[in-house]
């Protein structure tokens, strides 16, 4: 690939972009990065707890893991019945939707810092992911 112009970026220019006014961009983006990290952490911990409960129940009851998943509408009832596979399937589903949840948080965070462009981009990604979640069920 041809590079028609090359120059290094002086380090003193790296702190603040001349195209952005207000607080340094790094501080504003902190909210977005923190939101993304927090949402991933929450999703992982919820999934881990559900998975742990399911595995402990399986061990205590001497049950083996199911070979198929419960259909999503039946999961709440199965949870109330204390079925092992309900906890495990819900853990799997929690993991699957965690990145979707993160997209929501990232979009909200971009909106909060006034970055409408990337709020819109994040919402587009969210819409595409939502289609991938809904389409197979149709």
């Amino acid at each position: 690939m041809a590079v028609t112009e090359q120059h290094t970026i002086p380090e003193q220019e790296s702190r603040v972009s001349p195209t952005v006014s207000g607080p340094p961009r790094a501080d504003r983006l902190d909210l977005v990065y923190q939101g993304a990290r927090l949402s991933l952490m929450v999703g992982f911990r919820v999934a881990a707890v559900l998975l742990a409960v399911g595995l402990i129940l399986a061990i205590v009851r001497g049950e083996s893991l199911s070979e198929e998943t419960i259909s999503i509408p039946d999961i709440p009832a199965a949870l109330l019945d204390g079925e092992t596979s309900a906890f495990i399937d819900l853990a799997i589903l929690t993991l699957i939707v965690t990145p979707v949840f993160t997209s929501v948080v990232v979009a909200l965070a971009f909106a909060r810092i006034g970055d409408r462009l990337y709020m819109a981009v994040s919402l587009i990604v969210l819409a595409i992911l939502s289609v991938s979640l809904i389409l197979p069920a149709l």
């Binding site: 790296s14 595995l55 893991l65 070979e67 799997i92 965690t98 991938s132 389409l135 197979p136």
Partner: protein
């Protein structure tokens, strides 16, 4: 499936994650062929399990990259637009596709990765003048207008690295291809995404890897959802895979620091050639000895 098999699946998944992290690849690249070739697991269940394991790995692993700002969130979301579309299409295709077609594509990908590693190791210029981690920067007006420039602290060199992605439209377009492969094969897609960002877009390899680590989770959501909805998720395969990948992803980076990774490249190449060749043979109907 007996307890022994479940434990074996978990151990294999952990090893796949360790190998993947040492090579800069995801565990899915190893998991799907090993599950199908050696455990006799149906290809659809293997892909479903791998995709969910990729999500789990990304959810856990992204936190570090986000904290150190190796992940360029704006760039990740922008590239994710086409990646997610590609992943959805790929997943919808593969869930109903003839397994031989998927095997052939997977095998070809593994062989390509192996040959790329051989080429990279043999290139004399790579030894004489190592490729800089940070390619020469050209200020891309479009990237600056899109606020895609980013900064991160390189812990290895204690330097602040600022970069400006180049060729953003090309990167966005090619990311769709990465998504397509990810959705079709149940892998993260980092094996394609990182070279796109590093070689095509001029992003330092650490930032490319950090951004990819965040993106692969989003990409694998499409595959996971499609396969779950189609009933192609077997908890007996998924649970050991998730647990194994979690353990392996903790061990892998620690091992990478201690082991002379370049000395293991030949071993990894042989593994990839073996698995890739096996997948292609399986696709064309050649019976493998252990089946």
């Amino acid at each position: 499936m007996g307890l022994g098999e479940l434990v074996a699946l978990g151990v294999v998944s952990a090893l796949a994650a360790v190998l993947g992290s040492m090579l800069g690849l995801g565990g899915g690249v190893f998991m799907v062929p090993i599950f199908t070739l050696f455990f006799g697991i149906d290809q659809k269940f293997a892909i479903g399990a791998s995709a969910i394991a990729v999500v789990a790995n990304s959810v856990v692993g992204s936190s570090v990259h986000l904290r150190t700002r190796l992940t360029n969130l704006r760039l990740a979301m922008l590239l994710q637009v086409t990646t997610a579309i590609g992943a959805t299409i790929g997943a919808l295709f593969s869930v109903g596709a003839d397994p031989r077609i998927v095997n052939a594509i997977f095998g070809a990908l593994l062989l390509y990765v192996a040959l790329s590693m051989i080429r990279k190791a043999r290139a004399p210029s790579a030894r004489a003048t190592p490729t800089p981690d940070t390619p020469p920067q050209t200020e891309d007006a479009r990237s600056l207008a899109l606020r895609l420039d980013a900064t991160f602290e390189d812990a290895a060199t204690q330097r602040t690295i600022r970069y400006v992605p180049r060729r953003v439209p090309v990167g966005v377009g090619l990311s769709g291809g990465a998504g397509l492969l990810s959705g079709m094969l149940g892998i993260g897609g980092g094996v394609v995404q990182v070279p796109i960002m590093n070689l095509m877009m001029g992003i330092p390899v650490k930032a490319a890897a950090g951004t990819s680590a965040f993106m692969v989770g989003l990409s694998a959501v499409a595959t996971s959802a499609v396969y779950y909805a189609d009933g192609q998720v077997n908890p007996q395969v998924v649970v050991p895979a998730i647990l194994g990948v979690f353990v392996g992803s903790q061990v892998g980076p620690r091992l990478t620091r201690r082991v002379a990774t370049n000395r293991l490249v030949l071993v990894f190449v042989l593994i990839l050639l073996y698995l890739g060749g096996s997948m292609v043979l399986e696709a064309i109907g050649v019976a493998l000895p252990w089946q």
